[in-house]
Amino acid sequence: MTEDMTGAPHELGSQWYDNEAGPLVRPYAMTGGRTRPGPTGVRFDLIALVTLDPGAPGVDDAPLGPEHRNLIGLCRTETQSVAELAAGADLPVGVVRVLIGDLLELGFVTVSRPVPPARLPDERILREVIEGLRAL
């Protein structure tokens, strides 16, 4: 059933009932019903950083839905965390994870895994954070 979903679901969900209700589309329709990112199987952390791949293929003729393009647009301004992308695109985090998985597979973006604090390179970073906070 995924085959005939490409491109179509977005149009289906584009009617608005009223402003209060928002677009009447089930969230995972935007991902063709998928609730998990593709073969990479990585569950992106909320603070995983998504960066546009400089060597990314052209967006114009790529098999991307409007939500994918929207995410690419958001990353274009600056590197963004998964959480920021979800808020910026006004989509649930779960949906955004799937879409970012697509973009990663297609080579549009790179996703950095957050460094666990236990493996922080050194204390210097924390000192930098403290000084940065003081200077705010």
Partner: protein, 201 residues
């Protein structure tokens, strides 16, 4: 095949994001604190829950999968280009505990906001972080009209482990919020160093 590109990942390792959780009972001022220190107005992400096993809601006899939305507020502080701090307000309701596990993973530490008028509201958060050995500070949000208690009183009432910092704060005030975060990062640094020494020795 479609894994994370190693080269790009290396180039990107300069960009670092750290996560701090802000926990505490409902209405204690979590989002206020996030907003006071964040450089962006607090953003909201939504997580959809539809797993059948997690329907804690009383749906006896209702044979359908329900979808619940949990909202999480968060903010960001850019320390410098390539180093940012993200603050996440944890969902207040106890039934969303399982979401905390994801939030807590890889977190630098946590702020447990407390209101002395209902101190018991923050017991679950204190328990949670103590059990998982996640460094946290207790920040007592001094609401106007609330009786002032000294930090040691609060530490005793919460039966905190020795050394857990207790800070009095005003969640609406940027400087006060900054001070809370500084105390947390200092404490987290000490904890990590101590553990590192433990594991070596």
């Amino acid at each position: 095949m479609a894994s994370e590109h190693p080269d790009a990942a290396d180039a990107d390792s300069a960009a670092l994001a750290l996560k701090i959780l802000v926990a505490g009972g409902f209405g204690v001022g979590k989002t206020t604190l996030v907003g006071a220190v964040s450089e962006i107005r607090p953003l909201r992400t939504e997580e959809l829950l539809s797993e059948a096993g997690q329907s804690v809601d009383d749906t006896d006899g209702v044979e359908q999968k329900t979808t619940t939305t949990v909202a999480m507020d968060f903010g960001r502080i850019t320390i410098r280009s390539g180093l940012s701090l993200y603050l996440f307000g944890t969902p207040g309701q106890d039934r969303f505990w399982f979401l905390w596990d994801e939030l807590a993973q890889g977190a630098l530490g946590a702020v447990v906001l407390a209101d002395t008028r209902r101190l018991e509201d923050c017991f679950p958060a204190v328990d949670y972080f103590e059990h998982r050995r996640i460094p946290f500070v207790v920040a007592v949000n001094c609401f106007p009209g609330a009786r002032r208690h000294g930090a040691p009183d609060v530490a005793r009432a919460l039966d905190l482990d020795q050394g857990t910092p207790v800070v009095l704060c005003d969640a609406r005030d940027r400087d006060s919020g900054k001070e809370v975060l500084i105390r947390l990062v200092e404490y987290a640094g000490r904890m990590h160093t101590a553990r590192l020494l433990d594991s070596v020795g």
